[in-house]
């Protein structure tokens, strides 16, 4: 898997996430302009997934700084093909500044790590988990993102391991 920066995703955060997940950073940045919707002033998340797949042949995880949406929802924290090879997440609504609070780099990094792992789970076919502390639990608000842990519950962890092993032999 490649970690692909989109637009002005911060270099330093990208490096730290790469180090913590062991996923190497991709060679070039994806321009979010292709997915920009001027009426909603947001990026079309599904359109960005298409762009990521055009740029990269293997599994790719996009890291965006712009606000993401899908047509029926006001926003999404991320999106993934389920199962598939492309996924992405955005830090736009993970920043404390979005909620009118002073910035917190460490909190942002931990939130981004959770969203990255969450989308990676979907990419390997995992649906949302009913265990609120599992990283695969559904989180449609920042409070829910903060409530969960950074890792998978034992059941999701086992399923992920099985699916990733199976994927290697596909």
């Amino acid at each position: 898997m490649i970690l692909a920066p989109i637009g002005d995703f911060p270099e330093e955060l990208l490096a730290r996430l790469s180090r913590r997940t062991g996923i190497p950073v991709g060679p070039s940045r994806v321009d979010p302009a292709v997915a920009w919707n001027s009426t909603r002033r947001q990026c079309d998340s599904t359109r960005l997934l298409v762009e990521l797949k055009t740029r990269y042949d293997g599994e790719v995880m996009g890291a965006a700084a712009c606000d993401l949406f899908i047509p029926v929802l006001t926003f999404v924290f991320g999106e993934a093909e389920m199962p598939g090879r492309a996924a992405l997440f955005s830090i736009h609504r993970l920043r404390e500044e979005f909620y009118g609070l002073p910035g917190d780099a460490e909190l942002l990094e931990n939130r981004a790590l959770r969203e990255l792992r969450h989308e990676m789970g979907h990419l390997h076919g995992l649906p949302h988990c009913s265990d609120w502390s599992c990283v695969m639990s559904s989180s449609h608000s920042i409070e829910r993102v903060d409530n969960k842990k950074e890792g998978y519950c034992p059941e999701c962890s086992e399923r992920l391991k099985r699916r990733m092993t199976f994927a290697q032999f596909r």
Binding site: V72, L73, F75, M82, H122, S130
Partner: protein
């Protein structure tokens, strides 16, 4: 992960909306399907059940409200959420008035959508659970308290019920009218793995050929005069449960052919319909007639008989287990005394004698009716002979032949001496061996102590 995968049907004429929502709900762990129009949605709903339908209000052709009306009219067991691109109080009120669970405006806040859907599904689950529990409580009551009897024959029936309940085979219950065939069917269902699904009852004898077809297989709208809506048949309504076909001998040869096909294929076609629908059910059939003879006469298909006659439970007539009469009579006396707020404590000696000696052509049902009446007309605390409206029957208490009188007299004396045969023979003025032969000749057995089944 949730234990049960809930199903959602998305109905919207915009592909992008369908795709986004299907993707979103798949991630949420639901089983999702989509329809491009209300007509397509109704076709899908005819083929299978969905827990929730999320439909757009504005669609070409039939709109969301009309779809909602049809779902409600056909009494489909599904919750509906309507969505629209334009927020207006008027539309929201219209949707809610037509029975929508809720109303949401596009684009949705992800958290709002998640909460609305979770609430709708929770309400759907509670409604279904409530219905099943109500049914189960009444079934528990019926099966556990009313299968009364300590006679050998009733012990055997209970053993048979326990043996067959766990295996999914067809059961045939034979017995005269009023012996409690439906109670046995309910007990089998109640003890089977299908107990959390419904048991539906079809009284075959009460229905004409046209009615029974529509009752069993359901019908499409307009299939016949008066068929204003599509209706599910009993086999479909059983939905993983049990279908109890009472008085099976009364169905016509044509319906027998249709029924044989359903039992073999596990598929039905509604009257006036063309689509085959898969059905999952267990059959328990009952008859008060001798099916073998009806098969010989050519009025009952032998292949259907063999399909039904996998495991047979024979219910004894009450006169063949007269020792259970005091138990049953006391049980019904308790039941009706409580119901009518009366204070009966039992039967006086001669009333009980009358009950034991009666021939009971109407079986347990007749006994129940007679005890119920005695609770209405009798004087507390004991039921007396005058309170019992026993019908005259040639072999019953009114039978004045020497044999019948002797039988009743011997029973009474044996009861008086708690079945001590030495003391009873002394009182009767005959020797023990003679009494022993008479007991065998009249098929008398000591009544067991009152124990509830």
């Amino acid at each position: 992960m949730s234990e049960e995968t809930l199903s959602i049907l998305i109905v919207d004429d915009e592909q992008v909306v369908r795709d986004s929502l299907v993707h979103w709900f798949t991630e949420e762990g639901y089983e999702v399907d989509s329809s491009v129009s209300a007509t397509d949605a109704l076709a899908k709903l005819a083929g299978r059940e969905f827990d929730l339908v999320i439909a757009d209000i504005r669609m070409q052709g039939m709109d969301g409200i009309e779809l909602l009306e049809k779902i409600r009219a056909e009494q489909l067991d599904t919750s509906v959420i309507v969505m629209t691109g334009y927020a207006s109080v008027e539309t929201a009120v219209r949707a809610l008035k037509h029975g929508a669970f809720d109303y949401i405006t596009k684009p949705f806040d992800p958290d709002d959508l998640s909460v609305v859907v979770r609430n709708a599904l929770e309400q759907h689950r509670l409604k279904r659970e409530n219905r099943l529990l109500r049914q189960q409580i009444s079934e528990d009551h019926a099966s556990l308290t009313e299968l009364i009897g300590q006679s050998e024959a009733m012990r055997h029936v209970r053993e048979q019920i326990e043996t067959v309940a766990g295996v999914d085979s067809t059961v045939l219950i034979e017995g005269e009218s009023g012996t409690g065939k439906e109670l046995v069917a309910r007990a089998v269902h109640r003890l089977s793995p299908r107990r959390y699904n419904p048991m539906v009852v079809v009284h075959c004898g009460a229905l004409t050929e046209t009615l029974i077809e529509s009752e069993l297989f359901g019908h499409e709208k307009g299939a016949f005069t008066g068929a204003q809506y599509r209706k599910k048949g009993k086999f479909e309504a059983a939905n993983g449960g049990t279908v109890f076909l009472d008085e099976i001998a009364d169905i016509s040869l044509k319906t027998q052919t249709d029924m044989l096909r359903v039992l073999q294929e596990r598929e039905i076609v509604r009257v006036g319909g063309t689509q085959s629908i898969h059905v999952d059910f267990r059959v328990i059939a009952a008859t008060n007639r001798n099916l073998t003879e009806i098969v010989k006469d050519g009025r009952f298909r032998s292949d259907l008989y063999y399909r039904l006659n996998v495991f047979t439970i024979h219910l004894p007539a009450l006169r063949d287990r007269y020792g259970d009469v005091p138990l049953l009579a006391t049980h019904f006396l308790d039941k009706y005394s409580k119901q009518m707020n009366r204070k009966f404590t039992g039967f006086d000696r001669s009333a009980l004698d009358l009950l034991i000696a009666h021939h009971w052509p109407g079986n347990v049902r007749e006994l129940e009716n007679i005890v119920e009446r005695s609770v209405v007309v009798g004087h507390e605390p004991l039921v007396r002979p005058a309170d019992l409206a026993l019908a005259r029957s040639p072999e019953g208490a009114d039978d004045l032949s020497i044999e019948a009188v002797e039988r009743r007299h011997i029973i009474r004396v044996l009861e008086d001496f708690a079945w001590n045969q030495t003391q009873a023979s002394k009182a009767l003025g005959i020797d023990r061996v003679t009494l022993y032969h008479k007991i065998r000749r009249y098929g008398l057995k000591p009544p067991a102590k009152p124990v509830r089944a």
